[in-house]
């Protein structure tokens, strides 16, 4: 037991007080008054110079929200959230319009620097040399739409994307500049009435990203957004909408960090993906928000609704997520497989340590014929955390030939944490073929001893074993992210912070 005990002790010490991104940027912000009312919704809409139809849309959601109650079915416990005690909008004070990075508050740029996101250098990231036999060595590019406390501060790469016909902009701008697209697709995957948190988001969302890839276009670069919650007590309500038109392809990366806080912060984002015929969207997330300190105080409450709609035939949506942060995670990136022969994928690594509570999984809803889906979920629980996989695979009466493969693996570190698997499988036609595999294991003391006998420290050994455990998922991430994710996994489990 001793080796495992040591790990347990070490993991317990990883105090999230050492949270690497726990710093605060001192900039004045332009806040909405505390609390939520129709006036708050109007304030936000006005701040964004939104057209009347958008305000109406928000108000309808708000009125709906008033009739709803918070969902209680997830395996998470948290004190009651006082929705009137939160700020719903905070923007860095605008310096007129921003046309270049030089005009941005240096404090903000400094924040990004600390986060390791050099905006000035991000334009062309050095291409990663791929392992032998793989293509794509040249230089790869990432466009960053930086979301700083709800407002997109700078958007790079616009020109090159424009040339390809790709629209990539803050959703607040898209509402003004491309109302026809936004009207058509916003809320078409996650309706305003969908669930408590999604409805709240619909009423008060502040900003987020909008992507439209026109027919037949393969987006020339990975699109990326960094979210960062900065203002004290500000709920972060991001709204992302990505549309891949017929035969289009786009890969979108989302990375998140937030500064340390004592108060719990509510985050309720909505992400909607739409693929038309023969289109594909690959959506990758690395999430390492503040998980709270070693006593379980503070940390982000992350109630996210992410859903993709394979609306067209032969279309594909793939979710990959690496979740290491937040005090509470409530998140089920899902696919509606509406088009015939469409395909949904969900690759997930969810790590919980300290007092974190994770309830995450996916839904694969097979509606079209010969639709396929694949779920690979890796949960890792340490400390006194609780880690739940909750999934739904369902085949409609008409979804003949539907196929799903699910593998849920859980790894426990120490003896005070818990891993739970709650799969729902519903086949309403006899031709559906669903497979489900699940394993739960502990990091064995023999494996750790083998590694330390070869000269690895206990921490390095845990990192190595865990990275082996999650390899299938990390392989799905774009190369730049995979490296970051690997580091993050080691950091979140080892305590070698910094």
């Amino acid at each position: 037991m001793a080796a495992v005990q040591e790990t347990v002790d070490r993991v317990r010490r990883i105090d999230v007080d050492q949270y690497r991104y726990g710093f605060e940027t001192l900039i004045e912000s332009d806040k909405a008054p505390k609390g939520l009312s129709e006036d708050t919704v109007r304030f936000i809409s006005a701040k964004k110079n939104e057209p009347a139809w958008m305000l109406e849309w928000r108000l309808e959601a708000y009125r709906r929200w008033l009739t709803m109650t918070e969902p209680k079915w997830a395996r998470v416990n948290y004190p009651k959230i006082d929705y009137q005690d939160l700020y719903y909008y905070a923007a860095p004070k605008a310096k007129k319009t921003v046309s270049s990075l030089d005009e941005i508050d240096p404090e903000i740029l400094k924040t990004y620097e600390k986060l390791g996101i050099p905006l000035r250098e991000v334009e062309v990231l050095e291409g990663v040399v791929r392992p032998e036999g793989e293509e794509g060595s040249g230089q790869r590019k990432i466009a960053v739409d930086a979301v700083f406390d709800s407002v997109s501060v700078a958007t790079t790469f616009q020109k090159e994307l424009k040339k390809a016909g790709v629209i990539f902009m803050p959703i607040s701008e898209a509402i003004r500049e491309h109302p026809e697209l936004v009207k058509k697709y916003l809320g078409s995957v996650v309706p305003t009435s969908d669930n408590y948190f999604a409805t709240l988001n619909s009423a008060v969302f502040s900003d987020g990203s909008f992507v439209y890839v026109p027919p037949g276009v393969r987006c020339p670069m990975e699109l990326s957004t960094y979210f960062r919650i900065n203002e004290r007590n500000t709920g972060q309500f991001e709204r992302t909408l990505i549309i891949a038109d017929k035969g289009a392809y786009v890969s979108y990366l989302e990375g998140c960090t937030a500064p340390q806080r004592d108060e719990n912060q509510l985050h309720a984002a909505v992400v909607e993906l739409v693929t038309l015929d023969d289109a594909e969207i690959k959506y990758s997330t690395v999430q390492n928000w503040y998980p709270g300190n070693s006593e379980g105080v503070g940390g982000i409450y992350n109630f996210v609704t992410k859903r993709g709609d394979c609306r067209g035939n032969n279309s594909k949506i793939s979710w990959t997520q690496v979740e290491t942060g937040s005090a509470i995670t409530w998140k089920y990136p899902s696919c509606i497989l509406r088009g015939d022969n469409s395909r949904g994928e969900f690759y997930s690594v969810a790590i919980s340590n300290g007092h974190q509570q994770v309830d995450s999984g996916t839904k694969m809803i097979h509606l079209g014929k010969n639709t396929t889906s694949r779920i690979i979920s890796k949960g890792i629980a340490a400390g006194v955390s609780q880690n739940t996989y909750r999934g739904l695979v369902t085949a409609h009466r008409k979804a003949t030939g539907a196929r799903n493969f699910t593998a849920c693996d859980s790894l426990l570190i120490g003896d005070k944490c818990g891993a739970h698997t709650v799969p729902y499988v519903e086949a309403k036609n006899s031709s559906a073929l669903f497979e489900h595999e699940a394993t739960t294991s502990k990091i064995s003391e023999d494996v750790l001893f083998y590694c330390v006998q070869r000269g690895l420290t206990q921490e390095e050994a845990v990192g190595l074993v865990v990275n082996g455990f999650v390899k299938d998922v990390l392989q799905q991430l774009p190369m730049e992210f995979a490296v970051e994710a690997q580091k993050l996994i080691s950091i979140s489990l080892e305590g070698s912070v910094g």
Binding site: Y450, V452, Q453, G455, D472
Partner: protein
């Protein structure tokens, strides 16, 4: 100064004493064989030297290059040059053997203040060692020991021994689970690593292994003590007459 000095070592597991005052001295360049029946404490000795958790040292000491080995963590011991070839090497799914070897080698080098191997240099070194042991590259691209045959697992242990260049190699029941051909290959690998700068402690039940790895000194263990030491002919004697005579002696 001897490489390894075990003095009057007493070890308990769950408050039951397994080693009752064991002493052993090993010098550089020597190969020692430790023989004995099941339960005599052979594997316990190897585990305690390597620092496996779960054993309580209640008396005695172990000096390695004159330093107190028991004060060191298992990884520090590895960095200092203690290598244990496991009787049952573990599987580590998802971690390729190449990655494991490089990570471990660089961890050791870093801890010693040496420069870490870059990928090309490492691959070059690994390829030459692997080919001398007849280890194909595709085996190294698989997860550590995942799906390896018994012989492959043991060759993988010897590969690591050759890569890390430890000064003390402990081979725990290297012959278990090996057929005669696999045993010969493994033994050839070990013999190639014999060096004046290295000592080996070969733990085995059977004399058979010692036909291939010829020891300088043979120790017979029984009931937690070394009851007899001698030259390589002692192993032959044991093969002929069995361990029973020594059990009485203990």
């Amino acid at each position: 100064m001897s490489l390894l000095e075990v003095k009057d070592l007493q070890v308990s597991v769950d408050e039951r004493e397994i080693l009752h005052g064991l002493s052993l001295t090993v010098n550089l360049g020597e190969i020692h064989a430790i023989m004995g029946p099941n339960g005599s404490g052979k594997s316990t000795l190897s585990h305690v030297i390597a620092g496996k958790p779960g054993y309580e040292v209640t008396g005695g000491e172990i000096l390695f290059k004159g330093e107190d080995l028991l004060e060191m963590s298992p990884d520090e011991r590895a960095v200092k040059g203690v290598f244990l070839a496991f009787q049952y090497p573990v599987e580590i799914p998802g971690v390729t053997t190449i990655n494991f070897l490089r990570t471990a080698l660089n961890a050791q080098r870093k801890a010693r203040g040496e420069s870490e191997f870059l990928v090309p240099d490492f691959l070059k070194k690994m390829r030459s060692v692997a080919s001398s042991l007849n280890i194909p590259m595709d085996m190294l691209k698989r997860g550590v020991n995942v799906g390896f045959s018994g012989g492959e697992k043991k060759r993988n242990e010897i590969l690591q021994m050759a890569l890390f260049e430890p000064s003390l190699c402990i081979l725990d029941e290297m012959d278990s689970g090996l057929d005669i051909d696999a045993l010969r290959v493994a033994a050839d690998g070990v013999n190639a690593l014999r060096s004046p700068d290295r000592a080996m402690v070969v733990i085995t039940h059977y004399q058979r292994l010692l036909n291939y790895i010829v020891p300088d000194v043979v120790h017979v263990m029984s009931k937690g003590r070394v009851v007899k030491s001698g030259g390589k002919e002692l192993a032959l004697e044991l093969e002929a007459s069995g361990y029973a005579q020594f059990e009485d002696a203990a």
